[in-house]
Symmetry: none
Subunit: 247 residues, 2 copies
């Protein structure tokens, strides 16, 4: 069975959930699967009794320790790896991975890194705005006839897959090394964007178009802290060179 | 994706469920995973509105077609294969199988047989009396600290595993997208190296030191052909900008 140590680095981050009942159900589902950290962003107005009715008193400790925060950037800043979830398969949003494949990565990465599982509001899910902040995006497969999952069911499926993957004997000796923090990555993206704007590579009317492509493969590569530093060093020197004519 | 034909032989059978909300949640979860048949045994006293609040109107058709029966024997009589579920690992109850293994069997068996997934009441689960009627008994793995799953979460996990197992044969062709050729990558590395030499980022005595670091994470990310083109476009424009003073 799974030891606490294996999942202590994993947190559920709920972005603007609407219903107390769902938050309660999620606390229960998370604890069932050995995850005790829940953060709620952008809404703190939940009826405690309604939450606990669904969490049951056995997961009341998870409710008590929920962190309520205002901004998503603040909530994600301290994580090394952020996994978003979406039901939508719009073209701009990929690449999508299945829960099982994501769970294997998460079980591995979470050995040495803080991992956030990010879920959007019940009605709309995560927007592109929030998905941009994710290293990977999971889509839970469903019947085509009815694709909209209850929020706590989506959380349960992902937590269950992570629990199974973490319990598997295959916890490889070569765990993923320490990844860069979200805040480090965002700093790097900001610097790259400035540089590409300076050399007029980006279309001023839609500067995020190319940035989205860049984010996508940087996210895939799982950048280490020291690699972010190398890239930022290169950007600094490029900035300097662009503004100072070659001798 | 799963065709309706594959799951039409699978039914959820709820034995003495207590709460309308759970029945509603189960209708939704089942339909999400392509299962539209729900039978409720030993309790028919549920508030329709409460059920539908949780099923949403999109699974109202599943609620409408619920069969309410009095005896479990009657309910199970028409099935070829009955899978029970239990959280308890009492000695008398085995052998237990994991949801994943059960799902593979169920996906196979249900091609030509009617299969019931049997769940007990929220508080006590199935008793030995009912488990006796089952061909196989599934136990969903959980953290040892909190083993009691919400009924609809238990249903979701089993339905999800069956959905994945049933889809497996048809979706295994979901292939990795086209990666860049080695020749494309080497062209890109050459161009990056020239640029970094031009801006004096590389040590002329050991130019490959930083290149090695860059190669490492580019290799990890599994660059696509079109991404290589984007990066080479950026390098070209950077080269140009470095050699032409900013106005």
């Amino acid at each position: 069975m799974l030891s606490a140590a294996k999942t202590k680095n994993i947190s559920i981050v709920l972005y603007k959930p609407k219903y107390a009942g769902n938050v309660g159900s999620i606390a229960r589902a998370a604890k069932n699967m050995g995850i005790n950290n829940v953060t709620v962003v952008g809404n703190a107005d939940f009826d405690r009794e309604e939450m606990q009715q669904r969490s049951t008193h056995l997961a009341a400790d998870v409710l008590d320790s929920i962190q309520y925060l205002v901004s998503l950037e603040e909530a994600l800043g301290g994580f090394n790896y952020v996994v978003g979830t979406t039901a939508r398969l719009g073209k701009a949003r990929g690449p999508f991975i299945a829960p099982r494949a994501a769970a294997r990565d998460i079980a591995d990465i979470s050995q040495k890194n803080k991992v956030a599982l990010l879920f959007g509001p019940e009605d709309t899910g995560l927007a592109n705005e929030e998905l941009r902040l994710c290293h990977a995006v999971v889509t839970i497969p469903t019947s085509r006839e009815f694709t909209s999952l209850n929020l706590s069911h989506a959380v349960m499926i992902l937590c269950y897959e992570i629990f199974i993957a973490s319990s598997a004997a295959t916890t490889s000796a070569a765990a993923t090394p320490k990844l860069a923090l979200s805040s480090e990555l965002e700093g790097m993206y900001g610097q790259i964007k400035t540089l590409l704007a300076d050399i007029e590579f980006l279309n001023p009317e839609n500067p995020d178009y190319w940035m989205m492509h860049l984010r996508r493969f940087f996210a895939r590569s799982g950048l280490l802290s020291r690699e972010v530093k190398i890239i930022r060093g290169i950007c600094r020197q490029l900035e300097w060179s662009v503004h100072h004519k070659k001798p």
